[in-house]
Every structure is written in structure tokens, then in C-alpha cells.
């Protein structure tokens, strides 16, 4: 299994990193983490899918609304590496899945021991975070454009 977080690492280095974590099974329909929880681990998906969602009030009732779905090889829960270390989305398995949970403390200690490996992982993490930022920024710009268009069509909405 090639994990995006471990790109550029030798097999031996990747094994060292994976040895820091523990394999966790997530049964179909169960939660991996919830929005607002303390983020102590990031997760590498080995099998199945992980669905990210956020709460939204729909007809006066709170519902989990789809945000993104991640596949094997991808990473979820990088809030564990970014202060204030709280998850900003919820994650669940729509079908049986397995992940490798990497604790932040173990990773940081490993980076101290192997700074070159740590630099590569940090660079890969920056790419993940940057991709998400670009994606959400583009979605936000599209939404703003639509809001402006709807107000120019319906000037009463600006009052």
C-alpha cells in the first residue's frame, strides 16, 4: 500500500513510520472521529473508504452533510498535526474500513530522531493541506460569485 503521506520515503523509512502506529478497524457505519474531538492521531487509510462530513441544520434538525470521501492510500485527520489539535470535520466509514492511526507525539519524537524523514513527511503533509486549501478557496470563490449574481438579479435581496 502506497500512502500519500509517505511519498519519497524508502521502504525501510516507511516501515519505521508505520511501526509507530496501530491498525484500527472501522466497521461499516461507525465513527472514526467527530468534529470538535481532540485530534491525537492522524489516519492512513488502508482499506475501505472514510467519509468526511460536517453538521448542518436541515429543516430544523442537525444532519451530517457530505464533504469529501477518502480512499485507500489517502490521509484523514491531519488536524492532529495542526494546532489547536481539534478535528474540524467528522469521519465515518460507509463500509468496513481499516486505518493506521499515527499518534502525533510518536511522530514528533520520531522526527527528532530522523529529521530528514520528518522533513519529507512534513512536506507531504504541506501538500495535503495546500490541496485542501486550494480546493476550499475555489469553492468559496464560486459561492461568492453566485451570491453576487443572485443579488444583481434580485436587487431587493440587498436591502
Amino acid at each position: 500500500m502506497a500512502h500519500e503521506l509517505l511519498n519519497g520515503l524508502s521502504p525501510a523509512e516507511a516501515d519505521q513510520v508505520l511501526a509507530l502506529g496501530s491498525r484500527r478497524a472501522v466497521s461499516s457505519g461507525s465513527s472514526l472521529f467527530r468534529l470538535g474531538d481532540a485530534a491525537e492521531c492522524l489516519f492512513l487509510i488502508e482499506r475501505g473508504r472514510i467519509r468526511l462530513s460536517f453538521p448542518m441544520l436541515v429543516r430544523g434538525k442537525e444532519e451530517e452533510v457530505f464533504f469529501e470521501e477518502k480512499a485507500p492510500g489517502e490521509t484523514v485527520g491531519w488536524s492532529a498535526m495542526v494546532p489547536p489539535y481539534r478535528f474540524t470535520l467528522s469521519a465515518m466509514a460507509p463500509l468496513d474500513a481499516a486505518v493506521i492511526a499515527l499518534p502525533r507525539e510518536a511522530l514528533l519524537a520520531f522526527f527528532d530522531r530522523a529529521p530528514e524523514t520528518g522533513r519529507r513527511i512534513a512536506f507531504n503533509l504541506a501538500i495535503l493541506v495546500g490541496k485542501r486549501l486550494q480546493l476550499v478557496q475555489a469553492m468559496w470563490m464560486r459561492e461568492i460569485q453566485r451570491a453576487v449574481e443572485s443579488r444583481s438579479v434580485n436587487p431587493a435581496a440587498t436591502r
Binding site: K61, E63, A138, Q145
Partner: protein, 106 residues
């Protein structure tokens, strides 16, 4: 003699009744009543009976089941992400504002 006395009595009684009736008719009127503010004319509300055959036009909102609505939101998010990914891969104004087929934006 008795007849004469009885005639006089009837005459007095008749005069007394006449005098009372005259006094009542010529009694001065009391202070005039204050002018009352004009009361608004209240029109009776139009009757709303079935016999008139008027059907009120109340729009009935069509609500799709919550599962369907959530699926529509998910489809919208997927389409918007795909559009955003296209823009990120090759940023230009046309791609940024390209329309999707999502019912939420059409």
C-alpha cells in the same frame, strides 16, 4: 240633585286629566345631548361559505424526503468539488465560474 253632583265630579275629573296632559305636552325640553362622534360604518364581512364556490389559493410547499434532500446536497458538493478541482488544475476565470448541473445553482 244627585245627578247634578255626579255631573260636576265627571267634569272636574275630565278637566284634571286635560290639564295634566297639557302640562306634559308643554314641558320644556332638558339640556341637549352632546354631539356623539360619528360612528364608523362597519361593513359586514363578506360571507365565506362553500356556497360561494371560492377556493382559497394557499400554495402547498412540496417537501422532498430528508434522505432525498441530503442526497441532493451531497451531489451538489461533489459537483462543486469537481468544478473547483478543474479550476485548481488549470486556473482561469471561465473555469472558476463554470456552471454545474446541480439543482441548487440552477
Amino acid at each position: 240633585m244627585e245627578m247634578l253632583v255626579m255631573g260636576l265630579c265627571f267634569t272636574f275629573v275630565g278637566l284634571a286629566i286635560t290639564a295634566l296632559a297639557f302640562a306634559a305636552a308643554t314641558r320644556p325640553q332638558g339640556p341637549p345631548l352632546k354631539a356623539q362622534p360619528e360612528q364608523p360604518v362597519i361593513k359586514p364581512a363578506p360571507a365565506r361559505f362553500f356556497s360561494e364556490g371560492i377556493i382559497p389559493s394557499i400554495p402547498v410547499p412540496i417537501q422532498v424526503p430528508i434522505e432525498v434532500l441530503l442526497k441532493q446536497i451531497e451531489d451538489h458538493v461533489r459537483l462543486e468539488q469537481a468544478a473547483a478541482e478543474s479550476f485548481v488544475a488549470f486556473p482561469n476565470q471561465a473555469l472558476l465560474h463554470s456552471k454545474t448541473t446541480s439543482p441548487f445553482v440552477n
